[in-house]
Symmetry: C2
Subunit: 326 residues, 2 copies
């Protein structure tokens, strides 16, 4: 077994990559712009050049056991990304192409599954066999672990809990084309949408009224709430309540020992956590009441994506039967 | 490996048990009344006497590999039943007591998980590694199989999909004490409740108006629908739509290859299946559209409970460290 893995997180804006050791130390990392090359081969060329530079600088040539990649819509089983709307190359056999370029085994999965793996390998979920990771970012992602294994489902795409319908009627329009999805309410953008709704419906003064309404971010709402702004505080109560209700429903599915929350919104403290826990408890089937823990990610936000992706690198296997190229 | 297992299904009314071979043939079966003995030891005595009689008659003494039991609230990990409101002895270390009495290893789980195991071992789910079994009976039960394993969760009680909340506001009161649970709409009793609601709200004639309203059963609704009764047909559309919406949400969790439906209601044919499939498709996240199959159980209803329980018998292990008796 070689001592390092390379973790690559392909986001809509940046591709971050780093060399990680078995203890979860990010030894060196760097990034390139994801959107710079509309041709995937050009992107891969730059990624390979920059990653090789990093590997050489760290004297890690021939010491990389595997490459793990977290990317939107990445399919663990097929090694493909398909219909990834945030990437400039929506469909291709990602694992195969990267593996051929680097000459190293590659495994891929979506970013939330990678986050769950990272948490299980290096973070707050060490020792947990049954947990649900919920990432509260621009959207809401999830990685479900049952009996120590990430749930990939029959097609490799399981664990899309940001898209459970929490408002069946008159729900908000989601990027997925449906309405009422969890992520339209409980993501950073969901909080900003709630702010616009609350400010329109309610009439009292609010610090948020000093900001052009289309520019309000979840961070603005947080800052206003910290200063005691009632509307801002109510937005967090609303968000936490909806998330807690949804989590109570997740509980009847796999009865996890813990929920692990990750992302900027998760760090909102009691403003979010108190209504979340209250709603979860109030809506919990009695047999599960008081059981699940709700804990925060222990991975540094700057490192988390690379760490999560890298955790998958340890289980990457050489590709035997190659899938046909696009 | 001995050639037979004993399957025991402990229901609220009857306890059915049978000798089953490795191919899923129920070689002999019998039953006793669950409610006859308020003292569990008396019940166990009768169960042991009757089951021994069956085993002796079949010349199967010393040929029983294990005993599998399906029972409400039965916990696979602890071997206990706790707070089973439909049983006369709500809490006890069931696996230990039965194992000591019979001198044979015992494994237990709830009836819906047993049904999923039965389907995977002998029925429609042979060869499937990822599926969700939904039992439509007096209530709605579920058994979730991921990567070939029944999902028990951290506490052994996972897979209670009859209790996902499908109506967050103004939902029907459920036996669990909450409101809006799936089983208050999509079970046999749920259909009867829908009938009472529909007959009260609507004014047109219906065959169902010939039956005293409190006595209407789901079978009555089915019979009326078959005869073309519009209200009865609409009740099935309503039921199927709600179930299909709920199943679309289950899909984002574990992305099963198939849903397997079991129970009297599942045999309602297109009246239920057409609206169910339409609603599932309409509410499905696009990445999963058209993927999951919806299939009916292949186990004979009379044998299914015993077969399901018996399937667990093959994996029963001798109890090493006994749990303390009640």
């Amino acid at each position: 077994m070689k001592p390092y893995v390379l973790g690559i997180d392909i986001g809509g804006t940046n591709t971050v990559f780093g060399i990680v050791d078995a203890r979860g130390n990010v030894l060196a990392s760097s990034s390139i712009k994801t959107q710079k090359h509309s041709n995937f081969n050009d992107y891969l060329e730059e990624l390979h050049t920059e990653a090789s530079r990093l590997i050489d600088a760290y004297d890690a040539t021939d010491k990389i056991q595997g490459i793990g990649i977290g990317a939107p819509n990445a399919n663990y089983y097929t090694g493909r990304i398909d219909n990834a709307v945030n990437l400039p190359w929506p469909s291709l056999p990602l694992a195969q192409l990267v593996s051929e370029k680097f000459g190293i085994p590659v495994a891929i999965t979506n970013d939330a599954n990678a986050a769950a793996l990272g948490e299980m390998t290096y973070g707050a979920a060490r020792g947990l066999k049954d947990f649900i990771m919920i990432t509260l970012g621009t959207g809401v992602g999830s990685g479900i672990v049952i009996n120590g294994q990430v749930v990939y489902g029959h097609d490799g795409l399981a664990g899309e809990l940001g898209h459970v319908i929490i408002k069946r009627n008159n729900g908000r329009l989601c990027g997925c084309g449906r309405t009422g999805c969890l992520e339209t309410y409980c993501s950073a953008t969901g909080v900003a949408r709630s702010a616009r709704e609350f400010l329109e419906i309610r009439t009292e003064p609010s610090l948020l009224r000093n900001i052009p309404v289309e520019e309000i971010t979840s961070k603005d709402v947080y800052d206003a709430a910290v200063q005691g702004d009632q509307i801002a505080k109510d937005i967090f109560t609303y968000t936490g309540t909806l998330l807690g209700e949804a989590m109570a429903d997740m509980m009847v599915f796999s009865s996890p020992e813990a929920f692990i929350l990750f992302g900027g919104l998760a760090k909102s403290g009691d403003m979010l956590m108190r209504p979340l826990k209250e709603a979860m408890d109030k809506n919990m089937l009695s047999m599960f009441k008081g059981k699940p823990k709700v804990i925060l990610s222990e991975l540094k936000e700057a490192d988390a994506a690379v760490l999560g992706a890298s955790a998958l690198g340890w289980e990457a296997k050489p590709i035997v039967a190659a899938t046909p190229a696009v």
